[in-house]
């Protein structure tokens, strides 16, 4: 049955409309849970607030379990689900740049738009910086094209790399995530902040 677009069950335009609704819900929930505060995201790195970590990991676990169960019931063909291709070096460098931006700015791309939409000036600056980065990357593309495309690995998944079944990897991730949540909550009591 799924994915709905690949199998022609819904059109591309319907897809955009659904994405629009999901986007609104996503933004609303980000803002409602306080993600539009840059201190909340920065808190992950200083240990006084690990909600961001917990939310994103919970989302990942839900998605993993959901996809595997849907596939089990033949409701989705996992071969047709998009997986981001891996270019190893640019992934590592890009991850470092993005992480540095997280710590310095206190936003991820999604939450910066949340913050800007409720009028936070630092959020607007963050968006400005993001577009500046996109502009520099695009204009200078010939300079780093070789590096950008180096070490292409196709679309490996963790289970393929480790040679394990998807279900085992998911169980492992659940256990790792639970451990991280526990450490996170321990850190919250260890490095508390009154007001942020």
């Amino acid at each position: 049955m799924g994915p709905l677009i690949s199998n022609g069950i819904i059109s591309q335009n319907t897809n955009f409309f659904i994405a629009f609704l999901i986007g609104i819900a996503f933004g609303f929930i980000l803002e409602a849970s306080g993600f539009s505060s840059s201190r909340k995201l920065a808190g992950v790195f200083y240990g006084y607030d690990t909600v961001v970590l917990k939310v994103f990991f919970t989302a990942a676990l839900t998605g993993m379990l959901g996809l595997l169960f849907l596939s089990l019931f033949n409701w989705i063909d996992l071969d047709l689900v998009y997986i981001n291709p891996t270019y190893l070096y640019s992934t590592i460098v890009g991850g470092m740049i993005m992480g540095a931006g997280f710590i310095m700015g206190g936003y991820c791309p999604g939450t910066s738009f949340c913050a800007a939409s409720i009028g936070k000036i630092d959020g607007m600056f963050f968006i400005g910086g993001m577009f500046l980065g996109i502009f520099i990357f695009a204009e200078g593309y010939p300079l780093w094209e070789g590096f950008y495309k180096a070490k292409f690995m196709g679309i490996p998944t963790l289970s393929q790399v480790l040679g394990l079944k998807d279900g085992i990897v998911v169980l492992g991730m659940i256990i790792v995530a639970m451990g991280m949540f526990w450490v996170g909550e321990w850190a919250e009591t260890k490095f508390p902040r009154e007001e942020y």
Binding site: M1, P3, I5, S6, N7, K54, T58, L61, T62, L65, L68, F69, S71, L72, N74, W75, I76, D77, D79, L80, V81, Y82, I83, N84, P109, K165, D166, G167, I168, V170, L171, I174, I175, M178, F181, W182, E185
Partner: protein
Amino acid sequence: MKPRHFLAIIIIPLGLIMAAIPQNTTHPYKLTPAELLEHVNSGMQYFTPDETADMIINKDPSLLLIDVRGEDEYEKFHLPGAINIPLSALLDEQWKDYLNQDIRFNVFYSNSTVNANQAWMLTRQLGYENNYVLQGGLNYWVETIVNPTPPESTSPNEEIAKYDFRKGAGMALGGGGAVSLSGSGQTAPALPKIAPRPKKKRTEGGC
């Protein structure tokens, strides 16, 4: 109870279930035997010789005849405009765009219907649409189009009209009984150009 514990109670068992059961490697587009049987029983996969002859004479571009017999048999005789995909080569990569498309009717034929039906069943199982089988195969084709039996003079008008059509079609397609000879030495038609069907793609996505 902390939310963390609540979450753990729900997702750890789910993870255990996922780890314990075998992975699903089937592809949902495959037909179950029951569905396939239903297709076979409905007889919807057949093109009658009359329909086919009519389309050939009218040079209907939506028809592509596919001869699934061996190459030598194809060289000896084949229907006008037919291309040759021997059954043994059916799954070759080069034929994929011909078999998996949605702009024309592919009609498989062989001497009887056995091999053509096998080809049809294989393509059906692969999820390809628009593949059909020439009813009765070449043997029935010869009986009906090439050498039609004249109906009784007392037959209803429809029967006589059908006979007239078949006779005309037989002549148009190579002059009655001579059709089997006209096929010999005939060069194989150039393969028609096929615009590859947009493949089912992984849905694009991103963060």
